[in-house]
């Protein structure tokens, strides 16, 4: 029954959203416009950086309280020219910083900018963002209003997938971001413990930056999660502002997504190890050690292992005691079904604007095979009647009793779906591969693809593979939908 743990934890997490209105931070908000330095690490971002700067200058924020520092990580494209042109267009608001020797990754680039920005006392708040992220005009002021409460050290925004025109993968990511950001971060607001300030939208007070050492962690691939943990360990509160919306371009190919998620997943493994003394140990100074937060963290991190253990247990039970295996299978999948219906429906309602765009991917998130198993587990008679009708239409004998191999296939599916999801990644670069890999994602489910990626991150960490910062390719396709 351990296989049901992630589903039960996810349901609990979503239920917490219902009480967010009691635990949100709006009562402590006041209009507040601290002098804000925006730091943008940029390596070969010519395609996107100009638009991002233009959008920042459209922020509903006092011009004289806003400075944009582009930290150019020795770009070899037109990035310096674009930034210099913007610096001339917005004198005093846009500043170009250049590293002559780059390629060390985002954290090093950020630290170069931080060192310079912290050297004078102009900056009262610092916004770290990515070069491709587009901020909606009210977003920054809706974030800074939380700093009216001196206990707040950092605020993060709701990053939405903004690639237009997108494809099936960006729509899956769009739905995933409702669940992982709009939903999960609201529940973390309720708990008072935040897992991660979004790398593309994290706003810090000057005091908080100094409290975390004035530098971004360079020892891991999850520098944003490290900063988030350090902020809370320093006794500062982290707030997710769901009504500050920013749009980002996300990968539209599985291989791009794989690189990005492998980096994130490896980073999470590193954070888990680094803060091993913290988990499930409640503490007065912060809520990172709370049982609920630990439950959410580990259910996500260990989801591939839960899936594998479910399959192994069911197959073992199949040979040891068939009726028990059948019962366990039904209970597991009925829990899966209830969770799926609740989370899918609620997610689409949490962000109806995105929901209207991605509802098909929301339904197909678990994949066609999992959906068929869910329908069978919930409505076995309906499922069999459907099979009968299909069989008679095709003039073949209907399957009255499932053969052993089919039952074993269904039991093994949870683990097997991850292997097939990996095939989607492998197939993509080959001829006709984009069609095949897309089809595979709909069959095995986007969730299985992410789990396969997390599993790959365990292996990379165990093998102590090189920590290479592989930048996600950006082409300037992100836009704010009208």
């Amino acid at each position: 029954m351990a296989g049901a743990a992630p589903e039960l934890a996810a349901s609990y997490q979503f239920l917490l959203i219902a009480v967010h209105f009691r635990r949100d931070h709006y009562a402590a908000c006041e209009p507040y416009f601290p002098r804000t330095a925006v730091v943008i690490p940029a390596w070969n971002e010519a395609a996107v950086i100009g638009t991002s700067i233009d959008r920042l200058m459209l922020l509903e924020y006092p011009r004289d309280a806003l400075r944009i520092f582009v930290v150019d990580d020795a770009s070899t494209d037109d990035t310096p020219d674009v930034v210099l042109a913007k610096a001339a267009q917005y004198p005093g608001n846009v500043i170009h910083l250049r590293r002559e020797k780059g390629g060390q990754g985002k954290a090093h680039t950020l630290n170069h900018g931080l060192e310079i920005i912290l050297a004078d006392d102009w900056m009262e708040a610092l916004l770290i963002m990515d070069a491709d992220v587009i901020y909606e005009p009210p977003s920054l002021r809706t974030m800074t209003r939380h700093f009216a409460d001196p206990k707040v050290g950092a605020v993060t925004a709701y990053i939405k997938e903004g690639t237009r025109p997108g494809n099936y993968l960006t729509r899956f990511i769009g739905y995933e971001y409702i669940t992982a950001q709009a939903a999960a971060r609201r529940s973390q607001n309720v708990l008072g413990a935040t897992a991660c300030l979004a790398g593309g939208a994290q706003l810090h007070t000057r005091e908080n930056l100094i409290a975390v050492g004035g530098r971004i962690d360079t020892s891991s691939l999850a520098e944003d999660t490290f900063t988030t943990f350090k902020t809370q360990l320093a006794g500062h509160r982290v707030v997710f502002e769901p009504h500050a919306t920013v749009w980002a371009e996300e990968p539209d190919k599985i291989n791009g997504l794989w690189k990005q998620r492998l980096r994130w997943a490896r980073g999470n493994v590193q954070v888990t190890r680094q803060y091993r003394h913290l988990w499930f140990r409640p503490h007065r100074g912060h809520r990172l050690g709370s049982i609920s937060f630990g439950l959410f963290w580990f259910c996500l991190l260990l989801q591939p292992l839960f899936m594998i253990s479910s399959s192994v247990s069911l197959i073992t039970l199949y040979f040891a005691s068939f009726p028990q295996a059948w019962l366990a299978f039904h209970i597991l999948w009925i829990i899966n079904a209830v969770t799926y219906i609740f989370i899918t429906l609620f997610s689409v309602l949490i962000d109806p604007q995105t929901g209207r765009h991605v509802w098909r991917e929301a339904i197909m998130f678990p994949g066609a095979v999992n959906l068929a198993i869910i329908i069978y587990a919930c409505f076995p008679r309906l499922f069999r009647d459907g099979i009968d009708e299909l069989s008679s239409a095709a003039h073949i004998t209907a399957i009255r009793h499932f053969p052993g191999w089919l039952i074993l296939f269904v039991y093994a599916w949870l683990a097997g779906s991850m292997a097939l999801a990996y095939l989607a990644k492998v197939a993509e670069p080959h001829r006709g591969g984009r069609f095949i890999s897309g089809l595979l994602v709909y069959i095995v489910g986007y969730g299985s693809l992410l789990c396969a990626c997390t599993f790959a991150s365990y292996i990379k960490e165990l093998r102590k593979a090189e920590m290479k910062w592989e930048k996600t390719e950006k082409t300037g396709k992100a836009a704010i939908p009208i």
Partner: protein
């Protein structure tokens, strides 16, 4: 312009941070809208749970 710190304006410490004594009506309206949206999520959660309950009931009555 173009290298670290070159041509940057000097530290502008006189710039006052705007922290109005009393929040404007527009601000209060915005906060009320945000709170209303968050309250609405509680209703949406109940609605989603109700849909699950209806499906489970139908299953138990007709398709078990």
């Amino acid at each position: 312009m173009g290298k670290d710190g070159e041509d940057r304006e000097s530290s502008d410490t006189d710039l006052t941070t705007t922290r109005p004594a009393e929040p404007s009506r527009a601000f209060q309206r915005e906060i009320r809208a945000a709170v209303r949206y968050e309250r609405g999520l509680a209703v949406k959660a109940v609605f989603a749970l109700a849909v699950v309950a209806v499906i489970v009931t139908i299953r138990q009555l007709y398709f078990a």
